[in-house]
Every structure is written in structure tokens, then in C-alpha cells.
Subunit: 277 residues, 2 copies
């Protein structure tokens, strides 16, 4: 039986220095936050075209965060309210498509620094602004481009996140059309720089604390069948270096939030088991 809880989500807005603009993020406080005990936090990174709103309105995660007593933070997917030529020409590059990396190519390198924003500025802001957060119990999850973000954030910063899981993540961006477009635009043509933001390449060199990757993928997801996501490449890389990985392939499921809402409870169980042990 699920007990009652508040399912409101606060919306916070901070001027940040990393991307030189105001950034929105959502934060969900479970009922347990009213006590004296510090709580775990999970960051959720959303996919292409999303803002900080999609996950909090469509996934139904609140029920599980409330059961487990976990705070949930949802960043936006790109800088907003600045204007760079071409930033809204396509839905898979620029606004709503920051790819959680630090661009090095002009003109994007000034503002598009979502990697540092999420893993440094927002991460530290959450710890300092919300004393209820336990700095030793922080996890991350994401969807699609945000699944890539969750994986890369964890692999590039060993120990920063104790747990990681992803729904339908882009797993090997150097080898798929979405990733090739984003990396060319944000990073230029230097393939060694691409590798430093590619989960499948990063995991081969991972030597941080023990980590299990939980990947979830709908077999009926047209982006999966179109080889934008390539989870098998990541699984193979994990196995080659002995990093534990779970790939749940879900028959018939697509890329949508209906799919996420069906399995979000399992992901919270996975994170809670480790973060609350």
C-alpha cells in the first residue's frame, strides 16, 4: 500500500556563472525532509527538447521518491534566454540539446557548459543551499541525451555519484547521428576530445570506486532500432573491462515518458538499495 504524500515540485531559478544565464531546476523534497535526518539525492537529466518540467509532470517519480525518502533534482537541458545564431534551427542541437558537456568550439563554448554546470555548479549549490542533502549519498539518472549525461557525468567524475542508471540512453555518441552532430558542433573535429565525452569510451578507462551501470531500453523504441542509442556497444565495453552492467531490454516499449513511468519505480529501488545501505 502506498501511503499519501505531497507531490508538489519546487521550481528554483538561479543565476549561474557557468553558463552566464539564469537556469531553472526542479527539486522534489519528500516528506522525510521535515525530519532531522540527512537524505540521499538523485539528479535526473532529461532528454532532447525537454526542460526541467517534463520529468516532474510525466514520470510519476514522486510516489517512489516519497516512499524511499529521496530528494530529486532536475536541471534544464541547455542554457536559455541567450541568443546564439542557429541555436533554434534544429531540435537536436542548441536550445534544449546541451548534451551535458562543455563545448570547446566557438560560439558555443561561452555558454554551453552543461557538464560543469551540472557536475560542479549545480551539484555544489544543492549541497550548500539544502543542508538536508547527504553529500555521501548522491545518485544520478537520465533519459536519452540525459541518460548519456548521467553515464558520462559518473564516469568522468569517479565517486561524485554513487549510483547511476539510464532510460534509453545515448551510449556511444561518437558513433550515432545525434552524437556526431552534437560533438561536431560543440567540440569540433578532434576525435580524442569526443572520446572524453563518450560513455562507451570512458568506461574502458574507468578506475574509480566500484560501480554498477543500470541501463533500461525499450525494444520497440524507434531511436534504438535506428541505432541512435547503441546500448550493446556500452555493454560490450563494460564487459571488456569488468565493469558490472545490467541491460533491461523491455519488449515493445518505446522512447516515451509512458515507458519511463512504467519502470521508474524499479530505478528508484535500484538507487535506494545502494544509497540507503
Amino acid at each position: 500500500m502506498v501511503t499519501h504524500f505531497r507531490v508538489t515540485c519546487g521550481l528554483e531559478r538561479f543565476r549561474v556563472t557557468t553558463s552566464k544565464c539564469k537556469m531553472n531546476f526542479s527539486i522534489y523534497m519528500p516528506p522525510q525532509a521535515e525530519g532531522d535526518v540527512k537524505l540521499p539525492v538523485i539528479f535526473f537529466l532529461s532528454g532532447l527538447t525537454c526542460s526541467e518540467q517534463n520529468f516532474i509532470t510525466k514520470s510519476g517519480f514522486q510516489r517512489y521518491a516519497a516512499e524511499h525518502g529521496i530528494i530529486v533534482v532536475g536541471p534544464d537541458t541547455s542554457p536559455r534566454g541567450i541568443k546564439i545564431q542557429g541555436d533554434d534551427d534544429s531540435w537536436d542541437f542548441g536550445v534544449g540539446a546541451g548534451f551535458y558537456l562543455d563545448a570547446t568550439k566557438e560560439p558555443w563554448s561561452t555558454y554551453y557548459r552543461m557538464g560543469s554546470y551540472v557536475n560542479k555548479e549545480l551539484y555544489e549549490l544543492i549541497l550548500s543551499a539544502f543542508p538536508v542533502v547527504d553529500p555521501d549519498r548522491i545518485g544520478i539518472m537520465g533519459h536519452s541525451m540525459g541518460g548519456h549525461g548521467a553515464l558520462v557525468s559518473t564516469l568522468r567524475n569517479p565517486g561524485l555519484y554513487k549510483t547511476v542508471s539510464a532510460f534509453a540512453p545515448i551510449c556511444n555518441p561518437s558513433k550515432c547521428p545525434w552524437g556526431e552532430k552534437a560533438f561536431t558542433g560543440y567540440l569540433g573535429d578532434n576525435k580524442s576530445e569526443w572520446a572524453s565525452w563518450d560513455a562507451t569510451e570512458l568506461v574502458k578507462k574507468y578506475n574509480g570506486p566500484p560501480l554498477t551501470l543500470l541501463l533500461d531500453q525499450g525494444a520497440g523504441d524507434t531511436f534504438y532500432t535506428a541505432k541512435q542509442l547503441l546500448p550493446e556497444n556500452l555493454v560490450e565495453a563494460c564487459r571488456s573491462v569488468g565493469v558490472p552492467v545490467i541491460l533491461n531490454l523491455r519488449e515493445d516499449y518505446d522512447h516515451s515518458y509512458y515507458y519511463i513511468s512504467t519502470f521508474i519505480g524499479e530505478h528508484f529501488d535500484f538507487h535506494a538499495k545502494i544509497l540507503k545501505s
Copy 2:
């Protein structure tokens, strides 16, 4: 433990004669629909500004419909794609605000016949197009304007719906600003006609099959405190004539889909207990 299920929602589009335009509705088929047994159906009527999309993306009802084996149909809230002068001047009248009644005042009376659309044309279409539906086990629920629609549809058509419940319904539209505006616009000034579309007035004359009304209301809902909803008037009317009514007043909850998503499972339990007995 919740078992897995498909959370897709079919979107159907039919040209209907009642409102002389194409109308969308959503239909959710639970996994049990693949068997040979006929299943109950619940109609969900949405509130002001909504389409057939809000409930299926934000409420999380699918989990409970799947558990109970209940089909769920979600109509739109007004005719679409026709043009009447003034139909988009305000968010609480015209497009997205059909109030589930049959307008009698020109120019609205030609198209704005949502009462007949839902309770006759769509109702019959669901029975004929989806043979899996059990015609003897049909319920209805709704939110805000749609809660009013669910109550009025049930009370005006004794026996058509075996179960009814509502989230934050408009309960006495003749006595609140939203209702006065809509009734004046769609029905004119004849107060006896108003009474024929007002749940609080209708229940006083109800003499159909035994019926229990389940009302749900957030005490922190600003439309409740602004006296747009008036559930106490309906409860008093029910008690005056001996119609059983349950009013769950939920401390601090607002008017949003977060509130609905928190308690939608309880409403499915209520309907299932009767429809599946």
C-alpha cells in the same frame, strides 16, 4: 508489488454528428483486453483548458487501470477546429470549456453539445467499436469542470453510469463565477434550464438506481477557497434527499494533476469495487 504493463494510450479521431466536427478522444486498453472477458470502462472528463491529452500524460492512471483491468476513455473538452466569434477570448468559455452540456443559445447551440456528445454519441460509439467493453459496467469520473460533467452526466441519465467520482468538481455552477459565465453564455438567462445542468439541483430530484457520489477536494485549492467549486452545497443537497456522498477533503492539496495523481489510485479502487462486484 505492481506488475508491468503497457502504458500506451491510443488516440482515436472520429467525425461526430453531434458537434459537426472531428473530435479526439483517448482510449486506454489494459492488458486484460487481450483475453476473452468483457471489461468495465471508465470515462474521464477533463477540466477547463484541457484536451484529451492532459489526463493520459499527467495523472498516472494507467498503473491502476492495468491492475484492475479497466478500459479508460478520455474525451476532449469542447468542439475543435470550428470557428465561432469569441470562442477563444477567454480560457473559461468556448474552446476548451464546453462544460459537458448542450448549449441552447445561438451561436453556441449548433456545435457546443458536449452533453449529447459524451453521453450519447461517444458512449454508443465506444460500445459498438470496442466489443470488449461490458455495457453493464460503465463508470465516469472527472476533474473540475469535468467533475461537474461526470456528476451531471450521471444524475441526468439514471443508470447510464454505475459509478461516479470527481476531483475538485464544480458542484453548484449556478452559484459560482465560472458556472454563471458558462450558463449565461451557453444557456441564456432561464434559471430553470440552469438547474437542469447543475449537480446540486439535480441530486435533489434524483430517483434512479442507488448511487454513491465520491468527491475529492484539496483544502489548499485556490479555486475551492475562491468558492468556484462549492462541494459543501452538493453534500448538503445529497444529505437532504438521502443520497450517499463521500467528501474527502485533503489538507493542503491544490487543484493540479499532482493532486490527482496522488489519489487516482483510490478512485480506481472505489469504481472497481462496484464495477467488478
